[in-house]
Amino acid sequence: MDVDLKRVEEAAKELYIRALKILPPDIKSGIAALARSETDATARTILGTMIRNIGVAEERDNLLCQDTGIPIYNVTIGRGVNLDGYALKQAIRTGCERATREYPLRSSVVHPVTRANEHSSCGRGIPVINIDFSDIEGSLAIEMIPKGSGSENSSWLKMAIPAEGVDAIKTFVVDCVLESGGKSCPPTIVGVGVGGTADLCVHLAKLAATRPLGSHCDDPEGAALEQALSAAVNQLGVGPQGLGGDATAFAVHVETAATHITMNPVAVNMQCHSARRARATFTAGGIEYGF
């Protein structure tokens, strides 16, 4: 399959805008489920406002949240796909910049030292473009995640040691949820990376935080941690917006990687209740948009 990079550029633009406007169905169901089971009156009101906001965004074709985030594009290239990888990255960057200027979106991206904003949602190393490969024949998938800063500022890495065991991982996750409080716009998806190198561990936490609700870690050890930690953090009573209640997290998601004999790394990256993502899949038949 040959890929027309002009269509990739269009898709990169469209994906950014779609992600900001349309919440994935798993997240919408997730908020509705939390609202049904919530026992705290203030928390129920807050969850009700979140549900109302989703409706207003859809009716008025508006953005769900003002935070256009840091744009992240996760590209998965299948087998038999012919493309110029460098040009693909350029096309995504151009699409991201066009979405910002043409819609227009708030550019939330600045130089880390000068704080200068190019008003393009782009800058050095931004958008983040992650490239991976799959064994799906003739498929190119691009997932777009506008990662909001309230939740991204709730990110931590701990290089625990083997003698501290799995207890260090569990304790760290609980303490990060407490430390984050209302700042990460709960209810959150608590993304946890376990193992790897320092940078891989943090990347795993981001993958975990941005996975669909209802998905599970494909490592049984990670899946067991997810289940136990999801129940534990929802005992804390942080609640929606940190104002108390049952609904602290939709779920804790875990991703794992092998690590060094001397290492026991754990990272946490939060995703807010406006857990936005959008996906475009290119096949020989055309482009399909989804989540």
Binding site: N53, V56, A232, G244
Partner: protein
């Protein structure tokens, strides 16, 4: 748990009457500020031509569209999506906002900390919690972008909005030394041991 309808600006007595868990809806003028706005006002010696005395400021940096200035859009901006950011980053600016500019209400999400609570008690201020991430709804409460100052910081300019029915907002920190966040944080920390025990942590 009383509901209050305010038309801004308000006086100190109106603020002192508020207690946590009350709700407030605002009408009139609302100012938008953010990290860079306050860094420039308080660390870099810049001034604003706006009079913030008795007013509410919201922690925001909106999505806006440049348009031809007109009676509907006097500042040359139309609101696209106006929401709220996490307040705690701007903790150190609460006191100067109140003492130098006379701000009475801070609207944000996630809560503020001990120095803000002390400033609210000493100077007569409150923190009003809005639901973060509910910006599409919040935008329906904005009638107009009336004016903008320090616009070289865009989108972190100092925005002057005209609002109608902006709320209800929850009084989460009052001028009597009470913060919902402090109590809830302590309660959550108190449940830490039970949560860790449920995970089998020794």
């Amino acid at each position: 748990m009383t509901h209050h309808e305010f038309t801004t600006p308000v006086d100190e007595a109106a603020i002192r009457a508020l207690r946590v868990n009350d709700t407030v809806t605002l009408n009139g003028t609302l100012y938008g500020i953010r990290d860079a706005t306050q860094i420039h006002l308080f660390d870099r010696g810049r001034k604003t031509r706006f009079d913030l005395a008795g007013h509410a400021v919201i922690h925001t940096a909106p999505n806006v569209k440049r348009v031809e200035p007109s009676p509907a859009h006097p500042a040359g901006y139309a609101p696209v999506c106006v929401g709220t950011t996490t307040s705690a980053r701007m903790e150190r600016f609460t006191r100067p906002l109140m003492s130098q500019y006379g701000v009475r209400m801070i609207i944000g999400k996630g809560g503020m900390l001990a120095d803000s609570l002390a400033a609210f008690a000493e100077l007569g201020g409150v923190y009003l919690a809005i639901v973060g991430g509910a910006a599409a709804l919040e935008t329906t409460w904005i009638e107009q972008i009336e004016d903008v100052d320090l616009d070289d910081l865009n989108p972190e300019s100092l925005w002057r909005f005209r609002v109608k029915g902006f709320g209800p907002l929850l009084v989460a920190m009052d001028s009597h030394g009470t913060s919902l966040y402090t109590g809830l944080k302590a309660a959550a920390a108190g449940r830490r041991a039970a949560a860790l025990a449920s995970l089998g942590v020794k």
